[in-house]
C-alpha cells in the first residue's frame, strides 16, 4: 500500500511543472485571454511531443497506455498554471472513443489526437443543465441510413477549436453518443464569454444536423452507461485541475504573508493570517488525497471508484473555491486587482466548480452509491 507517486509519476509531475513554468507563464496566459482563439497551437504541438495528448491512450494508437493518476498529475499542474486550452475535453472525448468506438473510429481519431492533429470535446448538457444522461433532451431521428439530430447543448468547452464533438442524443433505442464534426450543416455555435477567459464555452444549436450511421459511437442505446463513465473521469479530471489552482493560490498567499509587513511585522506572524493559511493547507491536502484516491480507484477499477469520483468532485469543488477566495482575503487589496495573477487561478477553479456535476449533484450520487 503506497499513496506516494511512483518514481515515474514524480518525473512526469516535475516535467510538467518545468514545461508549464517556462511555456505557460501568467504573461502567456494573459495573452491567450485576449486572443480570439484562446489557446496556443505551438503549445499544443509541444504537449503532443511530450506525450501528454496520448498519455492514457493505447500504444497501438500512438499513446503511452498510462492511466487516470498520470492524467490527474498533468491536470493538477495545468490548474496550477491556469493553462488555457482544450486538454481536459480532448482527453475525455478520446477516452470515450477508445473505450466504445469502432476500429474505424479509433483509427480516424486517436492517432490524430495523440499527435496533436485533432482536438475534441463533449457536449453533455441540454438547456436544463442536468448532468445525468437520462435527462438528455436532444433527439436523434433515423433518416435513411443515417440520423438527424435536433436540440441545444450548453456550456460546451472549447467547441470552437474542436475537430469532433461528442453529442449525447435520445434515439428510440435510448441515449446514444454521436460523433459530430463542426462543419456539419445545421450546427451553429455561439461563444459564451465568462469570467475565466482561459476556459472557452459555446452554446450549440443542432437544427436537423444530419450524420451517417458511422457517427454512432459504439452501438445505439449504450450512451447512458458511457456518459456515466465519462462523467466519473471528468469529475476527477476537473477536481485535479481545481486542486492545482487551489494549491497555487495557497502558495502565493503563504509567500505574500512572509514578506508583506503591516504594524511593523510580516502579516504571516499574526494568527488571523497564519490560521487562515493553515486552514487553506488542510483543504488543499485533503483535496490531494481525494483527487488521487479517486484517480487510482478508476485505474484499479476499485469497487468504490464511482463513489470516490463523486466524493472528489463534491469535496474539491467547495474546497478550491474556499481556498482561492481566502487567498484574495490574505492578500488584501492587491489580490483584488486585475494586474495581480491570483484571479487567473481563482477563476479557473470557479469555472470547473459547476461542470460535470456540482457539489450538490455529486452528493446525491454519493447517497445512491453508499453501500447500505
Amino acid at each position: 500500500m503506497d499513496f506516494a507517486f511512483s518514481g515515474d509519476q514524480q518525473l512526469l509531475k516535475n516535467a510538467a511543472r518545468a514545461f508549464l513554468d517556462e511555456r505557460c507563464t501568467s504573461a502567456v496566459v494573459r495573452g491567450l485571454w485576449d486572443d480570439p482563439r484562446g489557446e496556443s497551437e505551438a503549445m499544443w504541438k509541444d504537449m503532443a511531443q511530450l506525450g501528454w495528448l496520448g498519455l492514457s491512450l493505447p500504444e497501438a494508437y500512438g499513446g503511452s497506455g498510462l492511466g487516470m493518476v498520470e492524467t490527474a498529475i498533468l491536470l493538477d499542474e495545468m490548474g496550477r498554471a491556469a493553462y488555457p486550452g482544450p486538454y481536459l475535453p480532448t482527453v475525455l472525448a478520446a477516452h470515450a472513443v477508445d473505450s466504445a468506438g469502432t476500429t474505424e473510429q479509433k483509427n480516424r481519431w486517436l492517432p490524430a489526437i495523440a499527435t496533436g492533429g485533432a482536438r475534441a470535446t463533449t457536449a453533455f448538457v441540454d438547456a436544463d443543465l442536468a448532468w445525468d444522461p437520462q435527462s438528455t433532451a436532444t433527439r436523434a431521428e433515423k433518416v435513411g441510413a443515417g440520423w438527424r439530430l435536433s436540440g441545444a447543448k450548453q456550456f460546451v468547452a472549447w467547441a470552437h477549436v474542436a475537430d469532433v464533438l461528442l453529442v449525447p442524443a435520445r434515439t428510440p433505442d435510448g441515449v446514444t453518443l454521436f460523433l459530430v464534426e463542426p462543419a456539419a450543416a445545421g450546427l451553429t455555435m455561439k461563444p459564451v464569454t465568462a469570467i475565466d477567459m482561459g476556459t472557452r464555452w459555446a452554446a450549440l444549436t443542432l437544427d436537423g444536423v444530419t450524420v451517417g450511421a458511422d457517427a454512432i459511437l459504439g452501438a445505439p442505446g449504450n450512451g447512458e452507461r458511457l456518459v456515466w463513465e465519462l462523467l466519473r473521469r471528468a469529475a476527477v479530471a476537473a477536481a485535479a485541475e481545481m486542486l492545482g489552482a487551489a494549491r497555487r493560490c495557497l502558495d502565493m498567499s503563504v509567500g505574500y504573508a512572509k514578506v508583506r509587513e503591516q504594524f511593523g511585522q510580516p502579516i504571516g506572524s499574526f494568527q488571523a493570517i497564519r490560521h487562515k493559511c493553515a486552514e487553506m493547507l488542510l483543504s488543499v491536502e485533503n483535496s490531494h488525497a481525494a483527487v488521487y484516491y479517486a484517480a487510482w480507484a478508476l485505474d484499479a477499477k476499485a469497487e468504490d471508484a464511482a463513489l470516490a469520483a463523486s466524493v472528489a468532485k463534491s469535496y474539491v469543488s467547495e474546497a478550491a473555491r474556499h481556498v482561492c477566495g481566502e487567498a484574495i482575503q490574505v492578500h488584501g487589496g492587491i489580490g483584488f486587482t486585475w494586474e495581480y495573477d491570483l484571479h487567473l487561478y481563482m477563476k479557473r477553479a470557479k469555472a470547473l466548480e459547476p461542470m460535470y456535476g456540482d457539489a450538490d449533484w455529486h452528493r446525491e450520487q454519493i447517497l445512491r452509491l453508499v453501500p447500505a
Binding site: M1, D2, F3, A4, F5, S6, Q9, V69, V254, A257, K258, Q265, P266, G268, S269, F270, Q271, I273, R274, H275, C277, A278, E279, L281, L282, E285, N286, H288, A289, A290, Y292, Y293, W296, A297, A300, A302, L307, A308, S310, V311, S314, Y315, D360, H362, R363, E364, I366, L367, V370, A372
Partner: protein
C-alpha cells in the same frame, strides 16, 4: 501509487478479522476486572503493543499492521485496551528516554495491564501554554517531593502510576526548567478526584499532589529535559489511529441512514427529503476524504517516514470534521438526537465517538467538543502548521526571550 494491500497484509487482515469475530465480548464490559480480562485476551492474541520493539515485548510491527488491527477492532466495535496511555505514550517514552532499570521495572507490567497509567501534564493554569506549568518537584536528597495540581487526567481514577511533568528549576526559561517523572498514584500525598464533564461522564480527573514522593530512580531522562520529552510523547498521540476512527464514523453513518429511513416527516420518510439527502451526502463525502487522508498518512508511516509537524493537519482535520459531523447528525435527527435514554429501538444506535466511548448520538455530539481541545487545541495545531509546515514567521510573544 498503489493502494491495494499486499497478499501478506490481506491474509493478516483476514486472520485478524476471524480472531475478533470469534473473541469479541458479546456483553458490555462493566467492571475493571472484566476490562482487564479483555485486555489480557488481546495481549495473548498478540494485539497489544505491536509497535513496540521485540526486546521489550512488542513485535516491531509495521504501521499498516497496527492500523489493520485497530480497524478490525473498530469494525466489530470491540472494547479498547485498558491501558491505552501506558501502551501508546508511557511505554514508548520509557523505551526512548528511560534507564535500563526503568525498562525492566515498568514495561512488562504496562503491556499486561498489571499496572495502569495516566498522564499528569495539564494544569488549571497551564492548558495550551503547557510549559507554564507550576507543579514543583523539589530535590530532597534521597527523593523528590511534589506539590501541585493537575487536571484533565484521563483514567486517573483507575491508574496506578502517572507520567508527570513538574518544574525543577525556576531560575531558567520556562521550557528548560521542567523534568519528567514516574509517580506512584497510590500514596497518601496523591488525591485523585473525578471530574464530571459536559457528557455527564467522568473519564477525566483532577489530581492533587501534596508532599508526594517520587523516587530518584524515577526521573526520566535528565533534569530539565522534561519539555523535550513531552514534545515527543505528544507526537505519539497523533495520526496512528485515523483509519479506525473513520471506520467508527462510517458505522455511525449507516446507523444515521437507518434512522432517516425510520423517521417520517410531512408524510414521507426523512431520507426522501432533499435537504436531508444533501446533508447526508456532505457528511459521507467528508468522511471518505478523512479515510483517503488517513491512508495517505498511513502509507508514509508504514515506510518509516515520521509524519512530523504534518500530523497536526491530521488532528485538526478529523477533530474539526467530527464536530461538523455530529452537528449535522443532530440537525437531521432533531430532538431525538439529544435523547440520552429510552430512544425508540429503530433510532437507537451503537454510535461511538472517536474515543470509542458512548452509545448515543447525544454522547457523540457532546464528546466531539473535546477533540478540538485535547492534545493541543485547533488553534495550537494551526500555529504549528503555520510555523513548522508553511514556514510562516513566529508571532511576537510576551513570554519569549528576545
Amino acid at each position: 501509487m498503489d493502494l491495494r494491500y499486499s497478499p501478506d497484509d490481506l491474509a493478516f487482515r483476514d486472520a485478524t478479522r476471524r480472531w475478533f469475530e470469534a473473541n469479541v465480548p458479546t456483553t458490555e464490559l462493566k467492571t475493571l476486572g472484566e476490562r482487564r480480562e479483555w485486555h489480557r485476551t488481546l495481549f495473548d492474541g498478540g494485539f497489544v503493543g505491536m509497535g513496540w520493539p521485540r526486546e521489550y515485548g512488542g513485535q516491531d510491527a509495521r504501521a499498516l499492521r497496527q492500523a489493520i488491527v485497530a480497524d478490525e477492532m473498530a469494525r466489530v466495535n470491540a472494547p479498547p485496551t485498558i491501558n491505552g496511555l501506558g501502551i501508546g505514550i508511557v511505554g514508548p517514552t520509557i523505551i526512548h528516554h528511560g534507564t535500563e532499570a526503568q525498562k525492566q521495572r515498568y514495561l512488562k507490567k504496562i503491556l499486561a495491564a498489571d499496572e495502569l497509567w495516566c498522564q499528569l501534564y495539564s494544569e488549571p493554569n497551564a492548558g495550551s501554554d503547557l510549559a507554564s506549568l507550576r507543579t514543583r518537584a523539589e530535590d530532597k536528597g534521597d527523593h523528590f517531593e511534589v506539590n501541585g495540581q493537575k487536571i484533565w487526567t484521563s483514567y486517573g481514577a483507575i491508574s496506578d502510576w502517572g507520567l508527570l511533568l513538574a518544574r525543577t528549576d525556576t531560575s531558567v526559561a520556562k521550557h528548560r526548567g521542567i523534568s519528567c517523572f514516574l509517580i506512584n498514584i497510590h500514596q497518601p500525598g496523591v488525591d485523585v478526584r473525578p471530574l464530571k464533564q459536559v457528557t455527564g461522564n467522568q473519564e477525566f480527573c483532577e489530581v492533587f499532589m501534596t508532599g508526594a514522593r517520587v523516587e530518584k530512580s524515577d526521573l526520566v531522562g535528565r533534569l530539565g529535559q522534561g519539555w523535550e520529552i513531552a514534545q515527543t510523547t505528544l507526537s505519539y498521540e497523533r495520526g496512528g489511529n485515523s483509519l479506525a476512527r473513520v471506520t467508527r464514523y462510517t458505522s455511525a453513518f449507516h446507523e444515521l441512514v437507518k434512522a432517516t429511513r425510520a423517521l417520517r416527516r410531512a408524510g414521507r420518510p426523512l431520507i426522501d427529503d432533499p435537504l436531508v439527502r444533501a446533508k447526508l451526502g456532505r457528511i459521507y463525502a467528508e468522511l471518505e476524504v478523512q479515510r483517503y487522508a488517513a491512508l495517505r498518512v498511513l502509507s508514509a508511516l508504514d515506510k518509516g517516514e515520521g509524519p512530523g509537524a504534518a500530523s497536526s493537519i491530521t488532528k485538526l482535520s478529523y477533530s474539526e470534521f467530527e464536530k461538523r459531523y455530529f452537528e449535522l447528525a443532530l440537525e437531521i435527527l432533531g430532538p431525538y438526537g439529544q435523547v440520552t435514554a429510552g430512544l425508540p429501538e429503530q433510532l437507537s444506535t451503537r454510535v461511538s465517538a472517536s474515543s470509542g466511548h458512548g452509545e448515543t448520538w447525544a454522547y457523540a455530539y457532546l464528546w466531539s467538543r473535546a477533540g478540538t481541545i485535547y492534545s493541543g487545541s485547533s488553534e495550537i495545531q494551526k500555529n504549528v502548521i503555520g510555523e513548522r509546515v508553511l514556514g510562516l514567521p513566529k508571532e511576537t510573544r510576551a513570554d519569549r526571550v528576545k
